[in-house]
């Protein structure tokens, strides 16, 4: 717990918590909720540490400023919580909003307020509490599969370049082809394009073309009429119709047969299709986003993909890099997945050890981001500590690491970590090699060799 020094506490107590006793000040200062008070001119007169963290503004910068200039919520200008509290004569509870912090991150929050009164019971201001709902909101989007651009994690230049053009791609309404290896996040990009486009209020319909045989795919995509075949007991609208006024995502289009490619081409050319067992063609107005994990141009050369269909779906092309080509994003992705599983499993995992991180950065991830997420989920099962170590990683990752010649920086990282660990445990046992070797789980002779290697003897 961060406890302010007595000298600083006197200095800030008055402006932080309106002369509250010191223990109240410490309590409020250390809460994870953002707490602040404002006067009737909407000027901030107290601001706790969590408020500094969430907004990115220091207390000294916030005190005396208008609350809307610091919190910058999407409801400040139109549905000010303070105005509503005063108008209704009642505190507000759990009002959802978004703030934009100093760095430009949009953060979902909930706001609750109560009145501050003087000794004569006159209202002199408002006491406000913000709760950061980022993690809950991220989980909600995952459950409802309403991903947006904010769910795309990556600082790698290739990813930033794609992200920078996403609004332009979304605006164009042209067909989009997303290329990328399996698990690289093609559907995430497809959804982000949809939610940035003018069709965002329409449906986003996805179908995995590789998961179904031709006959089933046809009925899924075009739909059928009652009695069209045995078991067709009622009319069923196809995905094309369901995606009307929205976006149809044809995942792994590379897996459809050449004969079905011909049917698809016809629909994509004029937007008309006929459900199975029907005679009347239907028209649909949907945007097509297709994805592939194979090189369609090579498939054209092999004669397994129609060239005309390729040009129909490839108006705008996005090529997603495999995770091994953007290994700089791995720590960021790990952090994100740890947040996610902490929330899902009620844990408080803090991260991965440097050694485990070295293993993960070196690993080629044939299954890309999806594989990394699976690795973290697996580690949550095995790891009962604060940090995921190499012993919590799947055997595939550990075996792969052992068979490779690693770049010198990774070896150096491991060596430094090993040296530090030996030094710490030796200190703990006041130089006793027997108890140190026992705690490290190695023999005394191995410990002696390592101590010589690192100059610790």
């Amino acid at each position: 717990m961060n406890t302010p020094s007595s000298s600083s506490h006197k200095e800030v107590q008055g402006e932080l918590m309106l002369g509250l006793p010191y223990h109240c000040f410490v309590l409020l200062e250390n809460l994870s909720e953002c707490i602040f008070t404002i006067d009737l001119k909407k000027e901030i007169n107290s601001f706790n540490h969590a408020a500094e963290t969430i907004t990115g503004f220091k207390r000294q910068e916030a005190i005396g400023q208008h609350c809307f200039d610091i919190f910058r919520t999407n409801i400040c200008a139109k549905r000010c919580v303070m105005d509503q509290s005063l108008a209704n004569g009642a505190p507000q509870q759990d009002i959802p909003a978004f703030i934009i912090n100093r760095a430009g991150d949009q953060i979902p929050i909930s706001i609750s307020t109560s009145f501050l009164r003087d000794e004569k019971n006159n209202i002199i201001g408002l006491f406000g509490i913000f709760r950061d709902l980022s993690e809950l909101e991220r989980l909600r989007r995952q459950i409802t599969r309403t991903f947006g651009h904010e769910d795309i994690i990556g600082k790698d230049p290739k990813m930033r370049e794609i992200l920078a053009f996403l609004p332009d791609i979304a605006e164009s309404d042209s067909a989009v082809l997303i290329e990328g290896p399996t698990g690289s996040g093609k559907e995430l990009f497809a959804r982000a394009i949809h939610y940035l486009s003018s069709r965002q209020k329409g449906p986003f319909i996805a179908i995995n073309c590789g998961a179904l045989p031709d006959s089933l795919l046809e009925s899924e995509i075009f739909g059928y009429k009652k009695g069209a075949f045995t078991g067709a007991e009622r009319d069923k609208p196809g995905r094309f119709l369901l995606a009307d006024k929205g976006t149809l995502f044809l995942d792994e289009i590379c897996n459809i047969s050449t004969s079905f490619q011909k049917d698809m081409l016809r629909v994509l050319e004029d937007g008309e299709f006929t459900p199975l067992g029907d005679t009347k063609p239907l028209k649909t107005d949907c945007r097509i986003i297709a994805s592939t994990n194979r090189d369609l141009k090579a498939m054209i050369k092999e004669g397994t993909f129609r060239e005309d269909l390729y040009y129909r779906i490839n108006v705008v092309k996005i090529s997603l890099p495999p995770l091994r080509e953007r290994s700089g994003d791995i720590p960021l992705l790990i952090e994100n997945f740890i947040h996610k599983y902490n929330l899902l499993k009620g844990r408080a995992m803090r991260g991965v050890t440097n050694e485990a991180l070295s293993y993960l950065i070196a690993y080629p991830f044939p299954g890309n981001v999806r594989e990394l997420e699976n690795i973290i989920e697996y580690a949550f099962i095995l790891c009962k500590d604060d940090y995921i170590g190499i012993e919590h990683l799947p055997m595939d990752v550990r075996d792969w690491y052992k068979t490779q010649n690693h770049p010198s920086f990774i070896s150096a990282t491991l060596a430094t970590e090993e040296e530090e660990k030996i030094r710490q445990i030796l200190n703990k046992h006041r130089g006793n090699r027997l108890t140190t070797a026992r705690e490290l789980g190695i023999s005394r002779s191995t410990l002696w060799r390592k101590m010589n290697k690192y100059g610790l003897s």
Binding site: Q65, H66, F68, D69, F71, R72, T73, N74, I75, C76, A77, K78, F98, I99, I100, N101, R102, A103, G104, D105, Q106, H149, E150, R160, L163, A164, F165, P167, E171, L196
Partner: protein, 110 residues
């Protein structure tokens, strides 16, 4: 030079994309040539950014702006001066005095 300031009453709007009005100012020869207000009409941040781009705006002065839209605007050659607060007219006047508008493109923040 065309400058856009999303406003909240007469102040810089705290949240880009949720303001209902944008002040458009055209500067010529170091002074305000003309001013207009655009009623945003409930458009979201991306639609607003696209519209400002279509209007040929060179610089946006705003409070908080989502990093995603800020980067998109900067990529399109629009200078974004974010994290600003106070009266829009005073910011314009100060800018004219300081001749800040003639400085090279800035990558957000202040």
């Amino acid at each position: 030079m065309k400058i856009a300031i999303p406003i909240f009453k007469d102040r810089v709007a705290p949240h880009f994309g949720s303001s209902s009005e944008v002040l458009l100012v055209e500067i010529r020869s170091g002074s305000v040539h003309q001013e207009a207000k655009w009623d945003v009409g409930g458009q979201g941040p991306l639609e607003m950014a696209r519209r400002l781009l279509d209007l040929g705006v060179d610089k946006i002065i705003c409070g908080g702006i989502d990093r995603f839209y800020r980067e998109w605007l900067i990529n399109k050659g629009v200078s974004v001066d974010d994290n600003r607060k106070g009266k829009a007219s005073e910011i314009i006047q100060k800018m004219l005095r300081d001749k800040k508008m003639f400085s090279p493109l800035k990558k957000g923040g202040n």
